[in-house]
């Protein structure tokens, strides 16, 4: 064991002394948090210039209502308590949609948008008051350069529809005074669950559900895990190949068994991951405390995180060491990096669906497939949804079993492959070595 630890210590020192490790330790969280930081920094930095929106109303019913609604919004909502303008004013420009060349008019409006003279134009169909069926004459279309994510489009729906509903209610004989109540809209607040304080027995009120809690923490945790496993395991492929190419492996095998050699490298990799994990975890917790968000971290999250990083790195590291031993040249090792990344890349691709539906059958099943367990299970644990308590434990047992197999099979492949030179062995050969030894 002491020899394994000596090799691990050398590996660890060799890795953490490099500029790459130090730079990676600093750069990785900056890159990772850059997106969130950018959103935070720029969310208040809105362009407050007026947005001119042309309204081409073929029904002749809506334009004035939109103008009034825009004026009301501009008067009430776009200034803060100090009188500073915080949002753009919407300036409605009615467009005469009478007889004429409608197509030419729309081209002209589009050109004005392209030159920045106009923000958007809305075309309201002549039959918009009676939108039975899906006739084109009853449509409302919003034209802009980025219409799909345009906040003005989202705003303009409401005054148009409120006015049309009011007209329909009046036709139905409902008095104007009743319109406001009938058309009133109550939003649905996102709240957490109610719980009971185990000490006092008091009911603890539900807290407002935040996007940071729902999305930010799972994303951050999994991104950290991704980086940890990359730092600890993936470099082992090229490190082993380089030692093989430089003939260091045979010198080492004069002093230690192949298994001790392999495990020393894997433990060294785990040490690198653990160091980075500790740095990021402590820094993250301090940052959360500073921003008053420490309570957002679910209980047990840190312990599960460190546990899954450790076993995940052992599992991946063992495979990586064995794969590295099958290569004779560093460029061969580089070509194996992509397959070795599968256990961390697949969960990254499925980040959004798993975060949105952490208790779905798909997410549950994927989190119990050992090769994906560390990342997917952490994603589920970090989500605000409570997952069954047994699932992380079963996932952990699965990963530990796979890690044990990876060490066992990886050791067999490593012992045979580490001194082989020349042509890379076929996958069938590697499988045969792993099974038969």
């Amino acid at each position: 064991m002491i020899k394994t630890l000596r090799i691990a210590l050398r590996e660890y020192r060799a890795a953490v002394r490099t500029k790459g490790f130090v730079i990676g330790l600093v750069i990785a969280p900056i890159v990772m948090s850059g997106g969130f930081l950018g959103i935070k920094l720029f969310e208040d930095r809105v362009d407050t210039g007026d947005l001119v929106i042309a309204v081409m109303d073929h029904s002749g019913l809506v334009t004035q209502a939109v103008v009034k609604a825009a004026q009301a919004r501009n008067a009430e909502s776009i200034y803060d308590e100090h009188g500073n303008k915080t949002m753009p004013a919407y300036v409605i420009e009615p467009v005469d949609a009478g007889a004429g060349d409608i197509a030419g008019l729309k081209v002209n409006l589009s050109d004005r948008i392209r030159t920045g003279d106009l923000h958007a134009f809305v075309e309201i169909g002549p039959d918009v008051l009676r939108p039975a069926g899906e006739g084109v004459d009853a449509r409302i279309s919003y034209h802009a350069e980025n219409a799909a994510v345009d906040e003005a489009r989202e705003w303009i729906e409401r005054p148009i529809n409120n006015h049309l509903r009011g007209l329909r209610l009046s036709e139905a004989g409902v008095s104007d005074s009743a319109h406001t109540e009938i058309l009133s809209w109550v939003g649905v607040e996102g709240m957490g669950l109610v719980s009971v304080d185990p000490e006092t027995g008091e009911v603890i009120k539900a807290e407002r559900s935040s996007k940071g809690r729902a999305l930010g923490i799972p994303f951050a945790v999994v991104m950290l895990m991704f980086i940890m496993m990359l730092m600890g395991a993936i470099p082992l492929i090229s490190a082993v190949t380089e030692e093989k190419a430089l003939r260091i492996a045979e010198v080492m095998l004069g002093s230690v068994t192949p298994f001790q050699f392999m495990m020393g490298k894997v433990i060294g990799g785990v040490g690198v991951s653990t160091t980075a994990s500790m740095v990021y975890t402590v820094a993250g917790l301090i940052a959360l405390k500073q921003f008053g968000m420490a309570g957002e971290v679910p209980p047990g999250l840190v312990a599960w995180f460190i546990t899954f990083v450790l076993v995940g790195t052992v599992m991946m590291g063992s495979f990586c060491v064995a794969l590295g031993a099958t290569c004779s040249q560093v460029n061969e090792a580089q070509s194996l990096t992509m397959p070795a990344l599968v256990p961390v890349m697949v969960p990254m691709f499925l980040l959004i669906p798993i975060t949105l539906h952490p208790t779905s059958t798909f997410a549950t099943a994927l989190s119990l497939i050992p090769i994906f367990t560390p990342m997917v299970m952490m994603l589920r644990i970090a989500s605000p949804v409570t997952i069954p308590a047994w699932q992380p434990w079963v996932g952990l047992i699965g990963v530990m079993m796979l890690a044990t197999f990876a060490i066992w099979a990886g050791g067999r492949v490593f012992r045979i492959a580490i001194l082989m030179q020349g042509k890379r062995p076929r996958m069938a050969d590697i499988m045969s070595w792993a099974i038969k030894g």
Binding site: K3, L246, R247, E250, V251, G254, T257, L419
Partner: protein, 303 residues
């Protein structure tokens, strides 16, 4: 007692038999030379002694223990291909290798060997700053720094200049004098002749020579004539009773056929030219090596 005992050891790689039914005994405290042409199975044999490769058949005992499943801290090993971590310091890497062998007084031994091989000034430099010869000496120190009972050196003198060759040769002698059994492979027959107590030759995976230099030479008898003559090799063509003439420029070496009379050969040479010197000798190790391993004597194969 023998430091190494191999019995009927066979090792194959796919369809190639690298070592074929090999048996040998390395006497304790001796210097044992392992010779053979490239691809004859030397390195494979040494790796099996080191337990890096497992034999397919046969048994290997090293320092009284079966060589299976464990590495020996009491064996020093210098592989044919040198390998050092380039980014580590010289002293640092030697301590690492010494500690990996659970050596005693490693720090003191490292400093002693660095001084002994004139590398003290390089102890704090990185390995990548060393010349090839220096790297080889550092690799040698890595093999001996733990004071092993058995030292296995695979081509320790390959690529060294004469000065460094002499330095390492003396070091090997010192180590043996301190009680360590030394086994090394070499292509340099003159070193094998000068240094080794026993010589073992492997060819095509099989043992072809095993014994002291004298015993090996005695099996070939005194069938070699060395002479200097005017006209050199051209004056020695088609001599009766001579199988082969090797021309070294100033000296020619003649191998006599069986039951030939050296006096008759000398008389015939003298009838052709003026003879400057004449000697009846045993064949050199180099000559014996070439006789066994020359093309036609067997098929070459790679490890």
């Amino acid at each position: 007692m023998n430091a190494v005992e191999m019995r009927n050891v066979t090792k194959t790689f796919g369809n190639v038999t690298a070592v074929d039914g090999l048996s040998l005994d390395v006497p304790d405290g001796s210097i044992y030379g392992f010779i053979g042409p490239n691809g004859s199975g030397k390195t494979t044999t040494l790796r099996m002694m080191m337990n890096i490769f497992y034999p397919d058949h046969g048994t290997i005992r090293v320092l009284g223990e079966d060589a299976h499943g464990s590495s020996h801290d009491t064996i020093g090993y210098l592989p044919e291909e040198r390998g050092l971590y380039k980014k580590m310091g010289v002293r640092e890497i030697l301590r690492f290798y010494g500690n990996l062998k659970n050596g005693k007084d490693v720090d003191r031994e490292v400093d002693r060997w660095l001084e002994r091989l004139d590398l003290s000034d390089w102890g704090d430099r990185k390995v990548e700053a060393l010349s090839k010869g220096m790297s080889q000496k550092v690799q040698f120190i890595a093999a001996v720094v733990s004071n092993p009972k058995l030292l296995i050196l695979d081509e320790p003198f390959a690529g060294l200049d004469p000065v460094n060759t002499e330095v390492l040769r003396e070091a090997v002698r010192e180590i043996q004098a301190a009680g360590t059994t030394v086994l090394f492979s070499t292509h340099d027959m003159s070193i094998a002749e000068r240094v080794c107590d026993f010589i073992f030759m492997i060819f095509n995976g099989r043992k072809v020579l095993d014994g002291t230099l004298q015993s090996i030479q005695s099996t070939y008898g005194r069938d070699t004539l060395r002479l200097r003559c005017e006209g050199g090799a051209s004056a020695l063509e088609n001599l009766r009773g001579v199988e082969k003439v090797r021309d070294f420029g100033q000296v020619q070496e003649l191998r006599m056929s069986e039951s030939s009379d050296p006096q008759k050969i000398l008389a015939e040479v003298m009838s052709r030219t003026v003879v400057g010197s004449f000697e009846i000798a045993s064949p050199s190790l180099h000559d014996i090596f070439v006789r066994i391993a020359a093309p036609g004597a067997g098929e070459d194969q790679d490890d």
